[in-house]
């Protein structure tokens, strides 16, 4: 677990990953993210499901909790980073977390003999691993194309690339939407399967699992929502808006080989998203092999729906949904053409009459910066975990000095795990010393804590 976890990038063993991945050339990083981490997952599956005998249920719980935390923290990192490849590397950590949630769930189900549910969870994990390979490779190719075209990976230097990298922007957009788990693309299909597996958890006999799994479900949903924010930020800032540097303004389109590779991978994302039944059936032999049970065959169902358990429980038909959305959009388009104005005129966006925001402006001061975009999330979510902190100094009236802004955050793994325990010891000693000076509220807190500890003890050991 420790070995596979550190290889795959589970928190808190993740620290190497975001440093190594961006350092490699793009196609190698694509390979690293897409394949190498999967090797670890493969090893984990092999060891835990096949080699080690029957697993205890709490193994599943441990994997679940680690996976859930990894997913959320990974994507939070990604949201705060400015370097495209580092963002992608952190997002890999998130996806590994999601895959481990699926694996943990499968372990737990298996330990309790719920083989069908275990097969569903395992399939979801494998499906997600497959999807991740597709869209993450596309994204790394795209990142490579950006780096090649502009010479930078810093989001703060990019912008407006969609106008110059017209073709490669499209697979990039598809991959971004897929990794953000949006229907009808493949990322959503695997996440939907995972959630369906989570919905089966009440049947688990252990109370701890029953209570933990929905909480993990909340973490999965949180990670998915963060991922959407993260990739809106990545795509929206790199490709949309106006260029933030000369290099971005003059970026050439990437070469045909990269383009076609990206398009091919993105097309696979779309196909896997629209026809998830086929992919699920592809993984059926694996669960058959490992668990002796397989998820019901999906490809024969009418309208290519997927229906993991029973029809009355849930079903999802991405093809039909996509068709509906397309038809509705076309209907809207056609009826507006028929009944409304067809003219589109174009004028510069209002820049308050200032040259620096006008059509001829060189600087793009009014556009959101990547760190500005992430600031609300950083302030709300990262303030405690990452000790994210913004410091503003405004000189008093009449002082001509510039106003200053600094923003900082730290990786809690470094701060809490890798810094020596000595400081903790110091702190404890210090605290012991202060026990005698407790306040009323702290006395209360101690009584309260003692009560809670007692209750926990009753809950777990009685």
């Amino acid at each position: 677990m420790l070995g596979a976890g550190s290889k795959a990038g589970l928190v808190p063993l993740h620290v190497w990953l975001p440093r190594a991945h961006p350092a490699a050339p793009s196609h190698v990083s694509a390979l690293m993210s897409g394949v190498m981490t999967k090797v670890a997952i493969y090893a984990f599956i092999r060891i835990v499901f096949a080699l080690v005998g029957p697993a205890a249920w709490w193994w599943g719980l441990v994997v679940l909790v680690l996976g859930g935390i990894t997913a959320v923290l990974g994507v939070l990192y990604a949201l705060m980073e400015d370097d495209i490849k580092t963002i992608l590397a952190y997002s890999t950590i998130e996806n590994i977390g999601l895959i481990f949630v699926g694996l943990g769930l499968a372990l737990a189900f298996k330990a309790d003999g719920m083989m069908l549910a275990a097969a569903l969870a395992l399939t979801a994990a494998l499906f997600h691993a497959f999807n991740h390979m597709l869209f993450k490779s596309t994204l790394f190719f795209g990142a490579g194309a950006i780096q090649h075209a502009t010479g930078t990976r810093d989001l703060a230097q990019l912008g407006g690339l969609i106008h110059r990298m017209k073709i490669s922007a499209v697979p990039m957009l598809i991959a971004a939407m897929a990794i953000a788990a949006l229907p009808p693309l493949n990322g959503f299909a695997s996440e939907w399967l995972l959630l369906q597996a989570i919905l089966l958890s009440p049947a688990l006999p252990q109370f701890g699992l029953k209570l933990a799994v929905p909480a993990i479900g909340a973490l999965v949903a949180l990670a998915a929502a963060f991922a959407a924010a993260c990739f809106v930020r990545l795509f929206g800032i790199a490709y949309l808006g106006k260029p933030r540097s000369q290099a971005a303004e003059a970026a050439p389109e990437t070469d045909a080989a990269s383009r076609s590779a990206m398009i091919g991978l993105a097309a696979l994302c779309v196909i896997a998203g629209l026809l998830p039944g086929l992919v699920i059936d592809l993984f059926a032999p694996v669960s058959d092999n490992l668990l002796g049970v397989r998820v019901p065959t999906q490809s024969g169902l009418p309208w290519l729906t997927i229906m993991p358990v029973t029809a009355s429980r849930s079903s999802y038909d991405p093809l039909l949904i996509a068709l509906f959305v397309t038809i509705s959009a076309c209907l809207a388009f056609l009826s507006l053409r028929r009944f409304g104005s067809r003219i589109i005129r174009s004028t510069p966006a209002w820049g308050c009459g200032y040259q620096e925001f006008g059509p001829q402006a060189q600087t793009r001061l009014s556009q959101y910066t990547p760190s500005g975009f992430a600031q609300p999330i950083r302030r709300v979510f990262a303030a405690s975990v990452f000790r994210a902190h913004d410091l503003v100094t405004i000189p008093p009236p009449g002082d001509a000095a510039p106003a200053r802004f600094t923003s900082s955050w730290t990786d809690p793994a470094w701060a809490t795990l890798y810094t020596p325990l000595i400081s903790a010891l110091d702190w404890t000693a210090d605290r012991m010393n202060r026990l005698q000076f407790l306040t009323i509220r702290r006395y209360l807190a101690f009584v309260f804590a003692a009560l809670v500890v007692l209750l926990v003890w009753v809950a777990l050991w009685r």
């Binding site: 200032y354 910066t369 760190s371 008093p396 009236p397 106003a403």
Partner: protein, 475 residues
């Protein structure tokens, strides 16, 4: 008093140390260069003193380098008269919009700007706000005005007093009574005449009615910008009743041109006086319920308490008057401290708080509403009979001395925003030099300072709680 450069600098350092409070800075064009006037008052007093410095080569030692409150006025007068302030910390133009404008510097990673205005979505005056932000965190706010520079003071110079009085009443429409009052008092002082007692009582009533109407409007608008529109529609109804009362009693909703140098133009009949009393009693009952609503709406309290905190130190340094200063611990009210009729016979208590947030500025307004009602009631109860206006001396019938001597007068009048300063020099019935200073000159820099630690979304709320006048600074 004409001074030399050394005394000038000494006066500036007096301002910097807080021994005296800055009131106004303006310039007057002469045949040979300019004369710069500096008005100040001792700390805690309403007695304004003037210093004048000749600037023959269009150069003068900057006041702003010692005292930041003077910065905007210094920049404005440099633009109007083509002067240069030596060693000025901020030599950028203020009214002159012909050149590109450099906003104050900001350093740090990931900083971007949000430009707002001068065209706004609401019906407000033009002003440009430049926010340097990182996401929601405001790193710096800078205000740029001067979009409606009307050269009002220039239009007044050389004209007859009655014409100038009309212009004075139009400097900031919401304070038309206060401006007319200030101008009239300055002219009366210059000409050495006194308005009849009945006229001063009526002036007081009008000034307080204006205060009532504007405070109602402000309280509603603050709550509206805090996302509580209900309060706005309710106070708008109260404001409307005050305006209609003014229209009925004085013939004009805003009571424009009702105060003239020498007195007032409209009398208040006994029936109308009764109407004022009954309306006020009725309004008072209504707003008591509104304030209860304000205090009990926890979601609204959550918005206003602690938002837009203005440091009392900064309020003091900038010489902020009115509700802005009084909410940040400044105990100054021209009605009490400059002691002009009709307030000289009344006991004015000045409410002041130290919290300095939006809530405090709103509570000051509420306290002032109560006080305005008391003042109006007292004035109505003790209304003296008599003439409405003392005629101004006819320029044709002046003595030789009077004909050759220009006469100077100034006044400090408490408008609804704060103390309005008026200065005139009259010569043969014409205005030679004039300055009318709005309290907003100090609110704008205070707003820029108060935004520290606030987020972008709270700016409209903070701004509304200051409610500075654009027009008053675009003279």
């Amino acid at each position: 008093m004409m001074v030399n450069s050394r005394t000038w600098q000494a006066a500036a350092s007096d301002l910097a140390t807080g021994r005296s409070i800055f009131v106004a800075l303006w310039a007057e064009a002469q045949d040979d260069g300019c004369i710069i006037h500096l008005a100040g008052r001792p700390q805690g007093s309403g007695e304004v003193r003037l210093l004048s410095l000749a600037a023959p080569d269009r150069l003068f030692p900057s006041i702003a380098q010692h005292h930041p409150a003077a910065s905007l006025m210094e920049r404005a007068l440099c633009d109007v008269h083509g002067l240069t302030a030596e060693a000025s910390p901020d030599p950028r133009p203020w009214l002159d919009h012909s050149t590109p404008y450099l906003f104050k510097p900001v350093t740090g990673d990931g900083v971007h700007q949000i430009p707002v205005g001068p065209v706004h979505a609401g019906i407000i005056e033009p002003g440009h706000f430049r926010f340097s932000v990182n996401g929601e965190t405001i790193i710096r706010l800078e205000v740029r005005l001067g979009y409606t520079h009307k050269a009002t003071l220039g239009l007044m110079r050389g004209h007859m007093i009655d014409h100038a009085a009309q212009l004075a009443g139009r400097i900031s429409g919401d304070s038309t009574v206060a401006y007319a009052f200030a101008f009239a008092r300055a002219v009366e002082q210059a000409l050495g005449i006194k308005a009849p007692p009945r006229a001063t009582a009526l002036r007081g009533i009008m000034a307080e009615l204006e205060r009532l109407a504007n405070h109602f409007g402000d309280i509603g608008a603050i709550c509206n910008d805090g996302g509580f529109p209900l309060m706005n529609v309710l106070t708008a109804a109260l404001r409307e009743r005050v305006l209609r009362l003014a229209a009925t009693c004085f013939g004009h909703r805003l009571m424009m041109d009702r105060i003239i140098p020498g007195g007032v133009t409209t009398d208040l009949t006994a029936a109308h006086a009764k109407l004022v009393l009954t309306t006020l009693t009725d309004l008072r009952g209504q707003w008591a319920r509104l304030f209860e609503l304000y205090e009990k709406t926890a979601s609204l309290q959550d918005r206003v308490v602690t938002s837009g905190w203005l440091d009392p130190m900064i309020a003091q340094r900038l010489g902020c008057g009115g509700y802005v200063g009084r909410a940040s611990g400044q105990d100054f009210d021209a009605r009490r401290d400059a002691c002009y009729p009709p307030y000289d016979t009344l006991a004015i208590t000045v409410p002041h708080l130290t919290a300095g947030d939006v809530d405090a500025r709103l509570r000051i307004r509420m306290a002032e509403l109560e006080q305005s009602v008391t003042v109006i009631r007292t004035l109505l109860a003790t209304m003296p009979p008599g003439a409405l206006c003392t005629p101004l001396p006819d320029p044709a019938n002046l003595t030789t001395i009077e004909r050759n001597d220009a006469r100077v007068g100034h006044a400090l009048i408490e408008g609804f925003r704060g103390d309005i300063f008026a200065h005139v020099r009259v010569h043969r019935g014409r205005i030679e030099d004039v300055m009318l200073r709005d309290p907003s000159w100090f609110f704008w820099p205070a707003l820029e300072a108060a935004i520290e630690g606030n987020i972008v979304a709270d700016f409209p709320l903070c701004n509304k709680s200051f409610n500075p006048s654009y027009s008053g600074c675009d003279l």
